[in-house]
Amino acid sequence: MYKNPIRRLFYVFVLSILALAIVLPSKIKIFGQELKRQPLNIKFGNISIFRDFELKRGLDLVGGSHFVYEAKTEGLSQEDKEMAMSALVEVVSQRINLFGVSEVNVQRASYEDKDRIIVELPGIFEPQKAKDLIGTTAQLLFASLNGESLIPTEITGADVANARLAFNSLDGSPVVGIEFTPEGAQKFEKLTEENVGKPLPIVLDGEVISAPMVQEKIAGGRAQISGNFSIDEARELSIQINAGALPVEIDLIEERTIGPTLGAESIEKSVKAGLVGLIAVALFMVIIYGRFGLIANLGLVLFGIYTLALYKLIPVVLTLPGIAGFILSVGMAVDANILIFERYKEERKKGSSVQYSLELAFGRAWDSIRDANIATLITAFVLANPLNWSFLHTSGPVRGFAITLALGILVSLFTGVFVSRNLMRVFIK
């Protein structure tokens, strides 16, 4: 009847050691010796997998900003829309990268016929600056004057090879130094040649920001844009010029910014809640089931290790509701054990042998456990929206909850059924 439970427990043991190696911090000191875990880096043809085995924390835990922008794409053809949106993602990512924020996440999203981008900036605590940087179209244009009217030329921000923060050599005020592409340099030379003695307006998003007087023809493709900038503004504009103008205008329709202290506090509190609950559940199980309870608790510890290891392996981005999902799944994880224990007791009362009762309990309980958990998995699937259906939410926190809950259920099926089953076969005689 038994298929060598000891060997199976050995597999479980090996698996647990592996999981533990992933769960522990990457550096640990034992007896004065420092052990360091190397990140996993697999490259196989086109597939490359990199895992540093650190817990990824969501915006609500590390702090940061979540922006949703709506792009004004009405009236564009499907093809143009497509091009504008992918260029938009590109430009926005580029701007943020140049600003020096790592781990940005810029995503396209659409709802009905609205096109959107979602920008997630972990750890940015100056949301205002970030918004100014991202939201400005930054369409740069050099114009010429014909009497009073402004005549746009062919020279735009796209002709600029490189822009940077510089300072005016006369009064030290911040300016944007630009360097044209070879082609742009030629156009600029021609333009200045034709306009000696006239002002040359520089237009940003439809507004003249400066109109320097052209003294002589400018060769060499270098110029300066001055415009009463602060240092921050000049730096911002240089980033925007480098990254390119936004292909379409965008509107901020939703914003959530979480400060760093709130996240840290949340982590601390939920870890405390989890530990208190875990200890209480463990005590409760021992009080109710005695040595059976100890087996369930061992299963619970393994459950914790496996789930955390999976979070790091997949990796799962942990959010506050995600932690709640994990805490909830701890409560649900012992369910399988309870079903089995109760069934076992019942069979024993009827006078069946230990072995027979155990096997019967496993068989019967398994049906209920499987049937019952499917309902929760269905809900988790809808909430997690793994296929990114646009008619459902793509909210990070909710997704976090659904994913941790679903993982919790799957892992608890393994620990609650497979692991405790073999533990009981060995230890309950």
């Binding site: 609500d60 609950g277 559940v281 805490i327 409560g331 079903l339 009827k350 209920s368 049937d371 988790a380």
Partner: protein, 296 residues
């Protein structure tokens, strides 16, 4: 020996009326609360802005309020819990957000978070929520239907689930009225989780009903009584472990997810109660009804 259990088994169904009265009271007060006070919809569903602060004393609250008045942004609602202060206003534009940021800086108060939801987002959230509920609900329904080929099982399970969901939403109408609880998308998540909880527990009871029916047969009352007796301990113990975790989360988990945890807790309690005391008696009633109809 084998029949000893049968004798010990309690007649749970004797109190069916009492269960229905209890459920009726809860359902009516919940529905009354929903219709008279409305649902306390949060930012996700109505739009607007919420700014959270960490405050040390009451004076800071007053000075914040004064400053908001100075910049002419009307405060719609103020909430405090522990050292947390939340101010709700209409949707803010960029400049207004800058002003608010400056205020906190000037007063030396820490601005913990800012959420700003534009007016176009709310209707969309409501639509998406409806779709999520329909999909999850429909999925579960479908699952229950193929699980228990007998339609009565499915109807009883669904009615029990509707019972739990109504109680949960109703209690939030009450909590919203008296304790400023808010319904946001996380609450919807809790409702959907309750849905699956409730079905989860009911399936365990019905599985047992089916098993006993197949094995021993007999009068439907006896079968159900026996199934309820046999699953009661499991149901209570299992729910207690979940409740322990959730209570711990409500008490220690911090203000940000307190209402979410509370919603899950109410859902878990209702879900546990409804399986033996709503779904099982309903199943019996429905079976009898079906028999009567067949005879005619």
């Amino acid at each position: 020996m084998a029949n000893q259990e049968d004798i010990k088994q309690r007649n749970w169904l004797r109190y069916t009326k009492l269960y229905f009265v209890i459920s009726f009271i809860f359902l009516v007060s919940g529905v009354y609360a929903i219709f008279s006070w409305g649902l306390p919809l949060g930012l996700d569903f109505v739009g607007g802005a919420i700014v959270d602060y960490k405050i040390q004393n009451g004076e800071q609250i007053d000075s914040l309020k004064d400053k908001f008045e100075e910049i002419k942004i009307q405060i719609e609602q103020v909430q405090t819990s522990e050292d947390r202060l939340s101010i709700k206003t209409r949707t803010l534009n960029n400049d207004e957000q800058k002003l608010i940021f400056e205020i906190a800086k000037d007063l030396g108060i820490e601005q913990l978070s800012l959420q700003n939801v534009g007016p176009s987002v709310a209707p969309e959230m409501i639509k998406k929520t409806a779709i999520a509920i329909i999909m999850a609900g429909g999925g579960i329904l479908f699952w229950v239907a193929i699980q228990f080929k007998k339609i009565i099982f499915g109807i009883a399970a669904i009615l029990a689930t509707a019972h739990d969901t109504t109680i949960l939403i109703g209690s939030f109408a009450i909590l919203g009225k008296f304790f400023d609880a808010k319904i946001d998308f996380l609450f919807v998540t809790a409702v959907l989780t309750t849905l699956s909880f409730s079905v989860h527990d009911t399936i365990v009871v019905f599985d047992r009903v089916r098993e006993i029916q197949n094995k021993h047969g007999g009068e439907i009352e006896n079968v159900v009584n026996r199934a309820v007796t046999e699953t009661m301990r499991r149901s209570i113990i299992n729910s207690l472990t979940i409740i322990i975790m959730l209570v711990s989360l409500v008490v220690f988990g911090g203000a940000t997810i307190r209402w979410f945890a509370a919603a899950l807790l109410i859902g878990a309690i209702a879900g546990t109660y409804s399986s033996p005391f709503v779904a099982a008696p309903l199943y019996v009633k429905l079976s009898r009804l079906q028999k009567k109809l067949k005879k005619k």
